[in-house]
């Protein structure tokens, strides 16, 4: 194990916590302070992960940990160009802009309708109605989720009490700075029984030399008969290191759809997506598309945790690996003994375009119930020479033909998007990011 003493960032976060424990948390509930302390102790014992940890076996973050980061962001102006990049053309929505994980309280396209309330997490933790949502340290041995719990200061709290269906909430995450930063955005979304919402997130960051490490944690509770559609489009620039944890707690007959798109750019993207099916008759769809280029490392770790009977989950992740990029897919499906009549399906397909690109694909099924239907599949392939020849024989140039084939490969995922403006945007991004000569 890499000694944490070799990582300056480790010492820095430890000092930061000790320092904050004195000042900042005085306004916070006792429960939160206890949770922070527990999470911090856990993190201090675990340290940052290395490839010796099973969950990080294929994702070496050593070189990113060696960089220096400040733990507090100063005030930075929001470049209009960046907001422009984070905006989805033609999307009618309530737009919320987070700069380095902090919301200014403004809703573009608002006001928000009845049935939805959005607060800054900095306020929600002090609000007696909501403070308890932040009071458990339930992250086990997950390094970054513990770190986030120990150090987070702000993020987005959503309290959904009704069906908000006329337009989606678009959350634009912008990362900017004048020095290297490590940030801990913390989001908590609570969907009350029978509520319904569609959330679209886009992530962009300042181009150039700047390095920002975003260790974000999103905790979602979907109560009985509630439905949440959740799209995330990650299109950050190379300097962003993105460790992005999302846990979803699903209650009886709830529906959760997740669509995660990762475009070329950010050198490190690690998505941990965990669906905890805590009550029966839930439905979960996880769709992912990663298009990796340059020396990018894109890692999607998903977990579908079938705890109760009669739940349905379906997962489809597709990857296109260009240039020297590395992709990791780890899809765990855990079916508890009580979770009879589970339907759980998983598929991961990869198109490796370049000889220098790598993919590690690992389906992981643990099934302890005996009356279940589960399947998984994983493929890695190259362009079909025959398809390429067919298209060229009709007059399409090689680059156009390849772009068309990549779009076609991605189609199974993009077609699942329900909003035409979002689907169109994702297709545009795919076309834009396919370099002419990427082999």
């Amino acid at each position: 194990m890499t000694s944490q003493q070799d990582i300056p960032l480790f010492e820095e976060v430890v000092n930061e916590f000790d320092q904050r424990a004195g000042e900042l948390s005085r306004e916070e509930s006792k429960g939160l302070r206890t949770a922070r302390q527990a999470a911090f102790e856990k993190f201090r014992a675990l340290g940052f992960p290395s490839i010796k940890h099973e969950d990080w076996k294929y994702t070496n973050i050593n070189k990113f940990l060696k960089e220096e980061y400040a733990l507090e962001a100063g005030k930075t102006a929001t470049p209009a160009e960046l907001l422009d990049r984070a905006t989805i053309p033609g999307l009618d929505c309530y737009q919320i802009v987070l700069v380095n994980g902090v919301w200014d309280g403004q809703v573009i396209g608002g006001p928000l309708p009845k049935g939805i309330e959005i607060l800054r997490v900095a306020d929600a933790v002090r609000d007696s109605r909501f403070a308890s949502y932040f009071e458990d340290a339930k992250w086990g041995n997950q390094h970054f989720a513990n770190l986030n719990t120990a150090l987070f200061t702000d993020g987005l709290f959503i309290n959904l009490t009704g069906a908000v269906t006329e337009k989606p909430v678009h959350i634009a995450h912008l990362y900017v700075g004048d020095r290297n930063l490590m940030l801990q955005p913390r989001h908590m979304w609570v969907c009350k029984p029978n509520s319904e919402l569609s959330i679209v997130e886009t992530v962009v960051s300042q181009a150039g030399e700047l390095k920002i490490w975003s260790n974000s944690l999103t905790d979602i509770i979907i109560n009985r008969d509630a439905r949440l559609d959740h799209v995330q489009i990650q299109e950050a620039s190379s300097g962003l290191r993105m460790v992005n944890h999302t846990t979803v707690h699903q209650k009886k007959q709830s529906l959760y759809n997740n669509y995660t798109f990762t475009m070329p750019g950010a050198e490190l993207v690690r998505n941990d997506l965990q669906a905890r099916l805590e009550e029966d008759h839930t439905e979960t769809h996880l769709y992912g598309l990663y298009l990796a280029a340059g020396s990018q490392l894109v890692d999607n770790h998903t977990l579908v945790d079938h705890q109760q009977p009669h739940c349905y989950s379906n997962e489809l992740y597709k990857g296109v690996l260009l240039e020297q990029s590395t992709g990791v897919f780890n899809g765990k499906v855990y079916v508890h003994q009580d979770a009879q009549k589970t339907n759980a399906f998983q598929q991961n397909n990869n198109l490796v375009i370049s000889k220098k690109a790598t993919i590690d694909s690992k389906p992981e099924l643990e099934i302890y119930a005996d009356d279940v239907k589960c399947s998984h599949g994983s493929t890695v392939g190259q362009f079909s020479e025959e398809a390429l020849f067919y298209l060229r024989a009709r007059g399409l140039g090689e680059a156009t033909a390849k772009a068309l084939l990549i779009n076609a490969f991605a189609f199974d995922v993009t077609e699942k998007l329900k909003n035409p403006a979002v689907e169109n945007h994702v297709n545009q991004l795919i076309s834009y990011h396919i370099p002419v000569n990427h082999a």
Partner: protein, 252 residues
């Protein structure tokens, strides 16, 4: 239009074409017949520019230009069209968008203005009608889930849309029932003109009852061993291809 001289080609080190000569003029329909393994489909592949075929000798001049120097897309843009024996299914690529892209690239190459959406739609409708191609199939993914006959009809629809000067039909009749054969042939006959030419590769005489060729060639062991008019096809139908082998062994 097309002059093939002493064409030798090999695939994976195996010599397939062994000195093939053929001249095709505008307005002509040439049928190429021959037994399995004679090199019929290889000829189609070499003309379309399939990469695993290596030309070792000879030349192919298309409208005054060296065809063998061109990559597959340039050949298509210059006006060569291969109707595939086994059209490939590409899920996720919409038939019509694919054609729009292809036509766009071909027109740009020929310095023709791009068609706007309305013009393209109009052209597409007109050609669908001409070759009796089902409008439902036009908007589906390219050949995905199409029957054998539908795939071949789609090839003819593409041919109609792209208006090549030289069309090579590689065993378009294989796997077609009689109705599909009739529709495909009718489409081809409507597209025949003074300005374009067809090379029809087939194993059977059946297709030539519908598309009447000006010339029939017999391809055997990588060479054209006999040429004639449409009566030759009937003779082949009657006698089969065995006499070629006898002739071959007699000369050895």
């Amino acid at each position: 239009m097309l002059i093939i001289k002493n064409l030798h080609a090999q695939v994976e080190g195996k010599q397939i074409l062994k000195g093939l000569n053929l001249t095709v003029n505008a307005g002509e329909v040439h049928a190429i017949m021959g037994p399995n393994g004679a090199g019929k489909s290889s000829l189609a592949s070499v003309l379309a520019g399939r990469e695993n075929y290596e030309v070792t000798e000879g030349e192919v001049i298309f409208e005054g230009k060296d065809l063998l120097e061109m990559n597959p897309e340039t050949r298509a843009r210059e006006g060569v069209f291969l109707a595939f024996q086994y059209p490939i299914e590409i899920p996720g690529v919409s038939n019509i968008n694919f054609l729009k892209t292809a036509l766009g690239e071909i027109r740009a190459y020929r310095n023709l203005p791009a068609l706007d959406a309305k013009e393209f739609l109009q052209l597409s409708r007109e050609k669908q009608k001409l070759v009796e191609f089902d409008a439902k199939l036009v908007n589906r993914s390219l050949n995905e889930g199409f029957s054998g006959g539908e795939k071949k009809r789609n090839e003819i629809f593409q041919l109609a849309m792209l208006e090549p000067s030289l069309s090579i039909l590689d065993e378009t009749d294989s796997g077609l029932d009689i109705d599909a054969l009739r529709i495909v042939s009718k489409g081809v006959n409507k597209l025949r003109s003074e300005k374009n030419a067809f090379i029809i590769i087939t194993h059977y005489q059946r297709l030539l009852e519908y598309i009447v060729p000006d010339f029939v060639h017999v391809l055997y062991d990588g060479r054209i061993v006999k040429s004639g008019t449409k009566e030759l096809a009937l003779e082949l139908e009657e006698k089969g291809y065995d006499w070629l082998k006898e002739k071959e062994s007699a000369t050895v």
